[in-house]
């Protein structure tokens, strides 16, 4: 049909008078007068067709393991806590670790996986594997067959070790592997291997500032710290996206726990999941810091607040990670210092500005006695939290506030 319009256009170009026009008009297919209503009806039908139909639902393109569940005959002898049998897997994780009792037999386990809609997995969900030989690799393929993800599932018999002092020196850091845009840190575990217990909100910052260089992120390494490398937290401007969303700044933060990128935009206070299971009694929290507040504290709307100086946060909390009903408890940005689950808190409180490395040494203040059995069953969690703007969770702070920390120690106390 479109050729008629092209012919009309061509004819229009060539015509010199209206006699010719009429002739051209008829020549290009309109000589049969009945044809016009047919063409017209055709136009209408075509338009309606374009507008009215929805195609079949597209196949899923996601390839995630969403949850992993281990079913065993006597869970009490296998898991530290009943809730340990099921794990919800973050979209950013591809390593899934079950820490189970040291005496658990992991030679024949059949993890049950739930996947993205329509996705398939190999080896199959529910198939039996020997986890004593190391992790089992699962490959998930999306429903449309175009995307794949590889997961490593570890089931690790874990001995509850007694440590006197936990050291965090921030010497092990690298660019996040998939994007290469920001830094992440590894801590040295008691057995000398590297763990990823430290979390930052750098991944959330990337959503609003895709062009930022790694050293322009809120949490960055500092090559020359108090001893070796240190970590620096800087309150950053979140750019045009941040202004649009009324989230104008991102305080630099670093904490023991996990950062849930999934809800970084929709529910940021719950994206910071503070705490890792901890089987000792923390007694003192020490380290070295520098803190230089940014020039101007701004409120939620970005307006300067005259006469106010930004403050930083340096604290550690020890809490019961299950409630009375046996449900798992994680502390978040909005209750980490106020939850009734708290057992002990070591809070530096006012972080005095200083440009030179300054030591802190804070004693944990216990609110209740520690249950020995619960401690052995990984029923307590520990969180260490640093932030360059204490009110950063409310998007209040001074852009440029900079807190650097190094040589952090957690000194534990044992029963005599």
């Amino acid at each position: 049909m479109q050729k008629y319009w092209l012919q009309i256009a061509a004819a229009t170009d060539k015509m010199t008078n209206f006699a010719n026009l009429k002739q051209s008009f008829y020549m290009c297919g309109f000589s049969n007068k009945m044809r016009f209503p047919v063409i017209f009806a055709g136009c209408l039908v075509m338009m309606m067709l374009c507008a009215s139909c929805f195609g079949d639902e597209p196949d899923g393109c996601e390839a995630d393991i969403e949850t992993v569940t281990l079913h065993v005959t006597s869970p009490d002898d296998f898991f530290f806590q009943a809730t340990d049998s099921m794990q919800v897997v973050f979209s950013t994780d591809s390593v899934i670790t079950f820490a189970v009792r040291g005496s658990a037999d992991v030679s024949a386990l059949s993890p049950v996986l739930t996947l993205s809609t329509g996705a398939t997995v190999s080896p199959a969900s529910g198939s039996t594997h020997d986890f004593s030989q190391g992790p089992v690799v699962y490959t998930v393929t999306s429903q449309d067959g175009k995307w794949q993800r590889h997961y490593r599932v570890h089931v690790v018999p874990t001995l509850v070790t007694v440590t006197d002092t936990l050291s965090f020196d921030f010497e092990h850091y690298e660019l996040e592997t998939s994007t290469q845009r920001y830094y992440m840190w590894y801590n040295t575990l008691p057995d000398g291997s590297l763990g990823n217990d430290w979390a930052t909100a750098n991944g959330g910052f990337r959503l609003s500032m895709s062009t930022a260089a790694p050293m322009d992120y809120p949490t960055t390494p500092l090559a020359q710290g108090y001893e070796g490398a240190a970590v620096c937290l800087t309150t950053r401007d979140t750019g045009p996206f941040g202004r649009m969303a009324n989230k104008r700044l991102a305080a630099g933060n670093m904490f023991l726990g996990t950062f849930d990128l999934r809800i970084a935009m929709s529910d940021h206070l719950h994206a910071t999941r503070f705490g890792i299971p901890f089987t000792d009694r923390p007694d003192r929290f020490t380290g070295y810091y520098t803190f230089e507040p940014g020039p101007t504290v701004q409120d939620f709307y970005g307006n300067p607040i005259a006469g106010r100086t930004d403050s930083a946060s340096v604290y550690a909390v020890f809490y019961r990670n299950h409630d009375a009903a046996g449900n798992e408890v994680v502390l978040y940005g909005d209750n980490v210092l106020s939850s009734s689950q708290l057992v002990a808190v070591a809070n530096l409180g006012y972080v005095a500005p200083t440009a030179t490395w300054t030591a802190w040494d804070v004693k944990f203040e216990y609110r209740e006695a520690v249950d020995e059995q619960l401690l052995a069953n990984r029923g307590y969690s520990l969180a260490i939290v640093f932030s360059s703007s204490a009110s950063g969770g409310d998007f209040v702070g001074a852009i440029g506030s900079r807190l650097c920390v190094d040589k952090v120690r957690l000194i534990c106390k044992h029963e005599e």
Partner: protein
């Protein structure tokens, strides 16, 4: 921008002169009318892809059209029909999507990926249109028209937000980021600057003349050109599609 408008108006005048002004006697045989119409519609994807799973709501805006048009009879049945239309177009559509490619841009920063959830789209534009149509007289009262149009947007807005769903950042296996419902929690976008000025397409309609001076018309317009510039890939190509109902007053 001003230069572009001038160029466009010159082009339209040139075409008008070409089509109608060649022979002085043409003017005598022309019939003129003015039209006032109300349009329902907006922009639709090139083909409604599988990605769009349903329409939650659709609100047409305040879409008036004012037109001055003329017909030149070629014979007993056929005429050539043209004119100038001034159109206000707007819409507010809320749809449910799956595996929807989206890129949100703000300044130098962008966030893109595959979105599953709901997308609210609002658009508003002012347009000057030049239609060139073949008109067929079915009876004394009824005529049908079909042809092409060229349009120029003098004012254009296109904005909205992705909400109540989640984005797979970058690719379908990238990090999952939930988008909430409230401003700040959802993914807002604003693509005014990425819209084309020029549009072209086909339109057709039916006129019903119920008295010597007065009549009514119904018209459907479908744009062949994407409303966005060719280098813009944030959302899939969209084309104008709308229907207009209105009244005709014949001057001559």
């Amino acid at each position: 921008m001003i230069m572009s408008i001038k160029r466009f108006i010159s082009a339209m005048l040139f075409i008008t002169v070409l089509v109608m002004g060649v022979n002085a006697s043409v003017l005598d045989s022309l019939s003129y009318d003015v039209r006032l119409g109300y349009a329902l519609g907006g922009t639709i994807p090139t083909h409604i892809g599988k990605e769009i799973r349903g329409i939650n709501s659709y609100y047409p805006g305040f879409n008036f059209t004012v037109a001055a048009e003329a017909s030149y009879p070629l014979d007993q049945r056929w005429s050539l029909h043209s004119g100038l239309r001034f159109e206000l177009g707007s819409m507010d559509a809320d749809s449910r999507v799956k595996n929807y490619d989206i890129e949100v841009v703000r300044g130098d920063e962008s966030l893109k990926g595959i979105f599953n959830g709901n997308v609210r789209i609002k658009s508003a534009q002012r347009r000057i249109t030049l239609p060139i149509q073949a008109e067929y007289r079915i009876s004394d009262k009824w005529t049908a028209r079909c042809g092409v149009f060229m349009g120029w947007l003098t004012n254009r807005r296109f904005w909205g937000w992705a909400y109540d769903g989640y984005l797979r950042e970058g690719t379908p296996v990238g990090p999952k980021v939930e988008m909430g419902t409230e401003p700040g929690d959802r993914g807002d976008f604003d693509f005014d600057a990425n819209m084309r000025h020029m549009q072209w397409g086909i339109d057709g309609g039916i006129d019903w003349r119920f008295s010597r001076r007065w009549g009514a018309f119904a018209e459907v317009t479908y744009g062949f050109s994407n409303i966005f510039k060719s280098d813009f890939h944030s959302v899939q190509p969209l084309r104008p599609l709308y229907g207009t109902l209105g009244i005709i007053y014949r001057i001559k």
